[in-house]
């Protein structure tokens, strides 16, 4: 049963590493931002997984319920999600301006235009 419990964490690590791979290996700026969003979401999963108690329920106090899951990681991740969307929105606004300035959103072509301009 132990390996099946750890599969939650292993797949979350696999998602994190895939998001990292998209950010560093792909040259398209929009795809990099999608990879960053995948990276952020997998970190939320890594935080929320340990807070679950088997046999517990959602941390809303109700009569007759004894065991509640841990509410602290929920609070942290709630803040993190909204901050993440503000970051992605700013990144996308920068991508729009880069496209208007350079005519492309591929990293290699932007580097080439910069080096020609020097």
């Amino acid at each position: 049963m132990n390996a099946l419990d750890l599969i939650n964490y292993w797949i979350a690590m696999m998602l994190l590493v895939t998001g990292l791979y998209i950010v560093i290996a792909r040259g398209n700026l929009v795809k990099k931002l999608v990879g960053l969003s995948i990276f952020q979401t997998s970190v939320y999963l890594i935080y929320i997984s340990p807070s679950k108690i088997i046999g517990g329920t959602a941390p809303i106090i109700a009569p007759g319920v004894e065991l509640y899951s841990n509410p602290l990681p929920h609070v942290l991740i709630l803040t993190a999600i909204v901050v993440g969307v503000a970051t992605i929105a700013l990144g996308l606004a920068l991508v729009v301006r880069i496209h208007e300035a350079y005519g492309t959103i591929e990293e290699d072509e932007i580097h080439a235009q910069d080096q020609d301009g020097e």
Binding site: L4, I53, I60, L92
Partner: protein, 183 residues
């Protein structure tokens, strides 16, 4: 047992979605798969008893982020260029990092046990005395707004700053049809 099965099935679907995002070059398909990934993540949060987080992730990830990505694709190109060289070094970095992280998970406490350290000191105090001190049954809202109110103030400031940043970057140019008359 059924919880573990549902959890594993959802996680495997998410892994398949992410592999699709890596391989596809049509950015419109990538954005739709990203929205699907956020939705599956919201479902997993629900299975793990994080109801507030699930609602926020569904609204923000599958809603707002998808709309913004589609607007950006409208304003830029929607096809990714073919990669010029095979990315061996990033793949090696990713695999080594993944191996180290999987080795690190072997030291984590057992999944779902009520005796692990993070359930010991602060969380039981909030769960027991939260409703009496604040009068609010939803402990997550009580902690977010009252016990950790300063963090929420900082977070609203970050959201405000993000909005101001987008206004500063994108304000000038209006659409040509703004001057046309719409009845």
């Amino acid at each position: 047992m059924t919880t573990t099965l549902i959890n594993t099935a959802l996680l495997l679907m998410m892994a398949a979605t992410v592999i699709g995002i890596v391989r596809l070059r049509n950015l419109f398909a990538v954005v739709i798969l990203g929205s699907l990934y956020s939705f599956l993540m919201a479902t997993i949060f629900l299975v793990l008893d994080a109801v507030d987080v699930s609602m926020t992730e569904a609204a923000v990830g599958a809603g707002v982020t998808t709309v913004l990505l589609l607007s950006t694709l409208y304003l830029t190109k929607s096809e990714e260029a073919k990669p010029s060289h095979t990315p061996i070094l990033p793949l090696a970095v990713a695999l080594v990092t993944g191996g180290l992280l999987v080795y690190g998970t072997l030291g984590l406490p057992e999944f779902g046990s009520p005796d692990s350290v993070i359930h010991q000191h602060v969380a039981p105090r909030y769960l027991e005395q939260g409703p009496e001190e604040t009068g609010v049954p939803n402990v997550v809202t009580a902690v977010l707004a009252s016990y950790r109110g300063f963090d929420t103030l900082g977070e609203v400031t970050v959201v405000f700053t993000g909005g101001i940043g987008v206004i500063v970057l994108l304000r000038r140019r209006w659409r040509a049809d703004r001057t046309r008359d719409h009845k």
